[in-house]
Structure formats: structure tokens, C-alpha cells
């Protein structure tokens, strides 16, 4: 799994950081998404998929 985000469309709701804090964080200044781990290990895939589904602006794309 590889994570690609579109920061331009992020509005900083924080759903990703809440759901998968090992993988996502937020910029201190504007709250937009920061990917901590581009290719998360399998045990985090479920949380990452949940985070992608929760994002209110569909900013997170998952590639195989």
C-alpha cells in the first residue's frame, strides 16, 4: 500500500490523524495532512483505509 495525498484540497478536519495517528499528522500552522509513513505496514492498512474513507474531502488516495 502506498499513500498519496492532495494537500491542496485538505481542510484540516483531522479525521485521518484521529483514526490512524501512526500514519498521519497535521501541519502545526494550517492543520493540513502530513503523511508520516508513505508505505504503511500491513497491520496499519485497516486504519489507513478507514482514514481514507472518513476524509471529508477525499484527499487520501491508496495505491497498491
Amino acid at each position: 500500500m502506498r499513500i498519496v495525498v492532495d494537500v491542496q484540497r485538505c481542510r484540516g478536519a483531522g479525521q485521518c490523524t484521529l483514526t490512524a495517528p501512526e500514519v498521519f499528522d497535521q501541519d502545526e500552522e494550517d492543520g493540513t495532512v502530513i503523511v508520516l509513513v508513505d508505505e504503511p505496514p500491513p497491520d496499519l492498512h485497516q486504519a489507513v483505509e478507514a482514514a481514507a474513507g472518513l476524509c471529508p474531502n477525499s484527499v487520501i488516495r491508496l495505491e497498491n
Binding site: 481542510r11 484540516g12 483531522g14 497535521q26 492543520g31 493540513t32 471529508p56 474531502n57
Partner: protein, 441 residues
């Protein structure tokens, strides 16, 4: 309170009916305009005070994209299915700017017309790119990390109020003793608003959000809140503190960040209103829902680690932005097989969507162990609640400490004597008389 209030989730402000600056529908659409809409926004709840109007069940099954009659004689659409509501709120062709002017509940009260004007900084009623600029200035202040860092202070505030409550004569009104003051103090400290002024803004906020307030009163109360916040902003320009408003003021040399007094006033009042009123209602109504579902309450008491799920389930089950969110289509769009024409107001019934059985099995059951599924209580799309992470922390800490402190907490009156807030844009209870066994506290 609509989707950027509680905090990007703007519920419809009481004062704001529809504006006529929308594009008229095409002239050759007579056929689809022939039958005037006769459905009014469902508002009658049945016996269970936690359930949305039963009419939504029928609409979801038979007429999920329904023509809706507005009180001013215009018409629009009502969406009641999860999938449709979610996609509308995420659709860049749905405008919040015009939506603020379309009120499916009542016409603009005479004398309140001036409230239709969108003021600088009122970002819940804006579209990109204006919305983007304000939101970017604020989201850094409401991140998961920052809100989690507030936990110890919120725990202290909650404990102080529970201590005070324990020494009061029973029964105690949980709204006045706990649910309202806790989020009020938290947002005051965060923004830098003196808590001593709470009666001024709490009372006016409630007046502003009531559907029964007359036009002149709405205008007067709004102007008083504007003047209050303006005085505060100007004082902070001279003597900044360590708070959010002072932080926004300090960006005056940054071309992206510089905000005028007028913008700061709008932002300050919006965050103040959204920051206390929404969470207050979730704390009180959520407590009532738990007390009325003893098996669920027992499960939460037995395993406090359920609290994260419990908070999400209460948000879904109660969906206090009770009348939904309004948007205006900026282009012709198709939703559920219906063509919605540019310029038409659309009500996204988030409370109905959060009870859609296609998304939530047994949707009318409060089930704290429910496998999490994204609810729409904070809205969706670019306006999804700015303060949602703060609200979550306040609820987690608040419910946990309340239940721990009062193991025998119970309602002090029959359920049917609890006055529900049917007449305000944010649902909840007016008062919640509770009691507990004498040895506690």
C-alpha cells in the same frame, strides 16, 4: 454551527431565510415545475425524543430526493438518504454562500432582513476561495494534537464542576451545573474571552438560535454580540494574551493572515457560539440518552474504554443539527435520478441520513459497541466541523468523569417532563433534572 460550527457545520441561523440572488431556473422546464411541492420540512418527532421525525423513514424508502416547499413560497429539494446527503455535502457545485439565505423552517422575520448580508469572516457561509483562506488560518488551532493537549485542563474544568455539583441540593439541573458551563469555559480560555461575560453571550446565543425570536430582537442581539467582540478584539490589539484571538491578531504583518477587526469579530463570535452551544447540548442530551438506555450505560460503566465509540455513536444517534444543512446548486446536478436545477436550495437532512439502515444496521438502536461507520453529525466536505476534535475531547472527558463521579446518576423526573429543544436549530434539552444517592459526591 452548521458544518464549520460545531463549528464548520453551520446549522441554519434562525434569522436567515432565502435570498433571491440565485439564478432562475430555465424557462423550458415548465413540465417539471408543474406540480408545486407540498411537502414541508418534517419537524414532528414521535414519542421517542431521540428519534428524528418518522416522516423521514417514508421519505428514505419512497421519495429520497423529494421536492420541498419553503415557507416563503419557493421550493427546493430534501435529501434523506445517507449516500445522497454525503455526496451533496462533498460536491463543489453545492454552495454554502447562498445556502445561508434559504431557510426551510420559516421566512425571514420582518425587520431581520439585514442579517442576510454575509459579513467578512463569516466563513461558514462562504465558498472557496474565500472559505479556504479563513479555514486555513484556523485549522492549525484545532488539530488533533492541540486538542488532545488540552485534555488535562479540560479534566480539571470538568472535575471542578462535578465537585460543585456534588455539593448542590438535589435535584440538580445538569445543563446549568455541567453541560453548559464546561464547554463555555473551555472555549473562553481557548479564544481569550473573559468567562465572567458568559451570561452575556450564552443568553444572546440562545436567542439568536431560537426559531421564535422576532426580527428586531435578532438584529439587536446580533449587534450586541458584534459590539462585545469588537471591544474585545480592540483591547487585544493593545494588550495581546496567550490565546487564539490574540494569535490571529498577531498575524497582521502576514499578507495571507492579516485580518480586519470586522473579520476578527465574525470569526470570534462564530467560534464562541459554536464552541459552547453545540457541545453543551451533546453533553446534556447524550447523558439523557445514556440514562434512558440502561444496558448501554451499564456496558460503558463496565468498560470505560468504550468511550471513543460511545461518543461517535451518540453523535450519530442524536445528530443535534436537527433540521439539516442547506446548500444551493450552482449548476444543474443529478441526485438519485432527479435533476436539481442551478439556483435551487437543497436541504441535506443529516439526522435522517444518520438513521439510514443501508449505512447503519438497526439504525434506531443506540449501540455503543457498533462497528464504526462514518456518520454525518459534523457535516461532510469542506465545511465539516472545524471544532470536532475539541468536541470529541470534551465529550470523552465529560461523560467519563460524570459517570465515574456519580455511579447512581438518574433522571429526577419522568422522561416526558424533560423539556426538549424542538424549537431551536440545535436540538437538546432545556433542563435536565438529575439526582443520585446521598453517599455519592
Amino acid at each position: 454551527m452548521n458544518s464549520d460550527v460545531s463549528v464548520d457545520s453551520q446549522p441554519m441561523p434562525a434569522a436567515l431565510p432565502r435570498v433571491d440572488q440565485v439564478q432562475p431556473a430555465g424557462e423550458n422546464d415548465a413540465a417539471e415545475e408543474n406540480n408545486a411541492a407540498d411537502l414541508r420540512l418534517p419537524m414532528d418527532r414521535g414519542e421517542c425524543p431521540f428519534d428524528p421525525p418518522a416522516e423521514y423513514k417514508r421519505l428514505r424508502d419512497e421519495d429520497p430526493v423529494s421536492r420541498l416547499a419553503f415557507p416563503d413560497g419557493g421550493d427546493g429539494w430534501l435529501l434523506s438518504r445517507y449516500e445522497d446527503v454525503r455526496s451533496l455535502l462533498a460536491d463543489p457545485r453545492s454552495s454554502s454562500h447562498l445556502g445561508l439565505g434559504s431557510n426551510p423552517i420559516r421566512e425571514v422575520p420582518p425587520g431581520a432582513e439585514e442579517l442576510l448580508e454575509i459579513r467578512p469572516g463569516q466563513f461558514i457561509a462562504m465558498d472557496p476561495p474565500e472559505h479556504t483562506r479563513y479555514r486555513r488560518l484556523l485549522t492549525g488551532q484545532f488539530t488533533v494534537r492541540r486538542m488532545n493537549a488540552l485534555t488535562p485542563r479540560i479534566e480539571q474544568i470538568v472535575a471542578d464542576h462535578l465537585d460543585a455539583m456534588a455539593s448542590m441540593a438535589r435535584p440538580v439541573d445538569l445543563v446549568a451545573a455541567f453541560a453548559l458551563p464546561v464547554p463555555s469555559l473551555v472555549i473562553c480560555e481557548l479564544l481569550g474571552v473573559p468567562y465572567a461575560d458568559r451570561e452575556l453571550f450564552q443568553h444572546r446565543t440562545r436567542t439568536l438560535l431560537s426559531m421564535t425570536t422576532d426580527g428586531p430582537t435578532l438584529v439587536r442581539v446580533r449587534n450586541e454580540l458584534v459590539q462585545y467582540m469588537l471591544d474585545l478584539v480592540q483591547a487585544k490589539r493593545l494588550q495581546p494574551g496567550d490565546d487564539l484571538l490574540s494569535g490571529l491578531i498577531a498575524r497582521e504583518d502576514d499578507p495571507e493572515g492579516a485580518l480586519t477587526d470586522e473579520e476578527l469579530v465574525s470569526i470570534g463570535n462564530l467560534l464562541l457560539l459554536a464552541g459552547h452551544e453545540t457541545t453543551a447540548n451533546m453533553l446534556a442530551l447524550g447523558t439523557l440518552a445514556l440514562l434512558e438506555h440502561p444496558a448501554q450505560l451499564a456496558a460503558l460503566r463496565a468498560d470505560p474504554s468504550l468511550i471513543d465509540r460511545a461518543v461517535e455513536e451518540l453523535l450519530r444517534y442524536l445528530t443535534i443539527v436537527q433540521f439539516g444543512l442547506v446548500r444551493i446548486a450552482t449548476e444543474d446536478v443529478e441526485v438519485g435520478g432527479q435533476r436539481i436545477r442551478a439556483g435551487t436550495p437543497v436541504v441535506a437532512a443529516v439526522a435522517a441520513a444518520n438513521r439510514d439502515p443501508k449505512q447503519f444496521p438497526e439504525p434506531d438502536e443506540l449501540d455503543l459497541s457498533r462497528a464504526y461507520s462514518p456518520h454525518l453529525a459534523f457535516g461532510h466536505g469542506i465545511h465539516q466541523c472545524l471544532g470536532q476534535q475539541l468536541a470529541r475531547v470534551e465529550m470523552k472527558v465529560g461523560f467519563t468523569a460524570l459517570l465515574e463521579r456519580f455511579p447512581s446518576l438518574r433522571l429526577a423526573v419522568p422522561l416526558d417532563q424533560v423539556r426538549m429543544r424542538d424549537d431551536t436549530f440545535i436540538y437538546g434539552v432545556h433542563e435536565l433534572p438529575v439526582t443520585w444517592d446521598g453517599v455519592e459526591g
